[in-house]
Symmetry: C2
Subunit: 339 residues, 2 copies
């Protein structure tokens, strides 16, 4: 064990935290999470390899629930380094990565964090557009969907953190793009702000198959799957030959004790469809290429992004639970501190 | 219209046929098919582009039901040319392709048939090992599964026309291969004749998930899917990271009015699994390469094949229905004529 240098430590008398209190059964509820304040001393001593950070923004995404269930981790944050025991980081650096939902964190393996080199865009974007959801949209669309100009693309949960970007990437490539979302406000956003060719409110459609046939009379080449369940079943009836279904998430299923059955998988065979799940973690080596592509597009206004920012860590549980009922409009973020 | 040359015609006074009498509801039953004898005159006049053939063997495969339902075609046959109006075929040629289930057929587009150039193997093999099922196994395994030496491969309906070959291809590549089948006799075949590493009788397993965990403690890299439904659901729980599910068929579902629900698709995401349907029709350009690979393997005894031959066209309906209850052992064939 390395000797700890006690001279370089950060005293933190009070650290507000959101912790995962009890196992999620059925839907995620605020009661599964607890806001508490503990008293801690974070050390990032020279040579320790750790960094002590102050968290600025938290990301609330559907995948947080998978992180909670399968990796017992709450989600990703944007943070400022207060003290560094790692040669690659120094005080004042901005980073994003996975850590606790709390005011202050000690990150013992900061190699897993990304340093924020471009701070001339809103910092909160690194929870979304320029962070994990942005990379997810980029890798999922370009690396998994095998998209071609002129193809038809359907995106569910299209106004969410990932969907809004996938749609814009697809439009920039010259695809015909339709999205589904859960409110009139979101549908308007898709059509009027993100430039989708069409969009519908799935809650107002009695027959999802009919809605898809209306939007895609010739069928769907690419389905960017964020919801699963009944929507997936309806999409399977509308895929074109050699279509691709890229499974990014299945938010409609995460809160169910027993996932719904999907009945129309035989269409994978009849239409020779490729359905593929992916996780962004496998594509982080593309992050520099992604930034190189997207930063100019943001600055030129070719890519727009909508965020829904809740203020204060104590509002984190409600914000995260709200994502599963679609309460947020755009990417849900929690601001912990504006410093 | 081309003028018909009446000089080159084949008089056929009697033609026994199996026809698709009524729409299949639920399971395929013998009553859906009718054996009748009609009186016909088949013409394959010079310049007509058609060929008149005498059918020798009929193939009975699960996909026949999809052919019936979606293409109203009964299946593929092996035939001898009686008369040719097509420059590429001459009297006496042997061919295999899709036509009616009958003693004699007029094939108006013989370009869609394959000429049998190698008759030094049993002709019936062209309904299976060297025909559509063989090509299906070859294309599905090598072109869709992306197999690598040392990977673990699970094949359902493994003693069937396609499965027995996929398993042997996988063994030749150096994979660990397990198959499921529906009787002790078939399980013995898999282990003792086809060289599978292990096999189980799915009808005797109370818990398919447990059976798969027993056979694949480290999980499955490749699932060659022939059955769908509950087996697919159990496999989804046992896939390894970056596994591949190649959907060749879903025989357990073809006879259901409403397909079963598949509940564990979220594993496609968690394990980054690729699930892909394919139809052999897209891969026929590889047929010469396939023959080049497989003919020597047959002659050297590296590939073995088991057929279950029913004699007489009138036994065709029972043979085809039997495929869906797993009555056949090995590839089900109907011999129409031994000439």
């Amino acid at each position: 064990m390395e000797k700890v240098n006690k001279n370089a430590s950060v005293e933190v008398m009070s650290n507000k935290q959101v912790i995962y209190r009890e196992q999620v059964r059925g839907s995620l509820k605020e009661a599964n999470l607890e806001v508490r304040t503990s008293s801690e001393r974070l050390k990032a001593d020279t040579g320790s390899g750790a960094i002590a950070v102050k968290n600025l923004y938290l990301a609330c995404d559907p995948y947080n629930l998978n992180l909670i269930k399968y990796f017992t981790q709450l989600g990703s944050v944007i943070a400022r380094v207060l003290e560094s025991g790692h040669p690659n980081f120094k005080k004042g650096d901005l980073v994003w990565g996975l850590t606790g939902w709390e005011e202050y964190s000690l990150i013992t393996a900061p190699e897993t964090c990304f340093k924020i080199e471009h701070a001339d865009v809103p910092l909160s974007h690194y929870t979304g557009l320029l962070g994990m959801p942005g990379m997810t949209a980029y890798a999922g669309f370009y690396e998994v969907c095998s998209p071609k100009k002129g193809e038809t693309v359907f995106i569910s949960s299209a106004a969410g953190a990932v969907g809004q970007l996938v749609g814009q990437f697809a439009k920039l490539l010259g695809c015909y793009v339709v999205g589904s979302a859960g409110s009139k406000e979101k549908v308007d956003l898709l059509k009027n702000k993100f430039g989708f060719d069409d969009a519908f409110n799935y809650k107002e459609e009695l027959d999802l198959d009919a809605a898809l046939k209306r939007c895609f009379p010739e069928g769907i080449d690419i389905y960017f799957e964020n919801v699963g369940g009944k929507m997936l079943d309806a999409v399977l009836l509308n895929m074109k030959l050699h279509g691709r279904i890229t499974v990014c998430g299945m938010i409609s299923q995460y809160n169910l004790e027993q996932p719904e059955g999907v009945h129309n998988l035989l269409n994978l065979l009849l239409k020779r469809v490729r359905m593929e799940g992916f996780l962004v973690f496998d594509y982080y080596h593309l992050y520099p290429k992604f930034l190189e592509t997207v930063l100019p597009q943001i600055k030129e206004g070719k890519i727009v992004y909508v965020e829904d920012i809740a203020e204060g860590l104590e509002n984190g549980p409600a914000a995260l639970v709200g994502v599963f009922s679609g309460r947020n409009v755009g990417k849900q973020v929690v601001m912990v501190s504006c410093e």
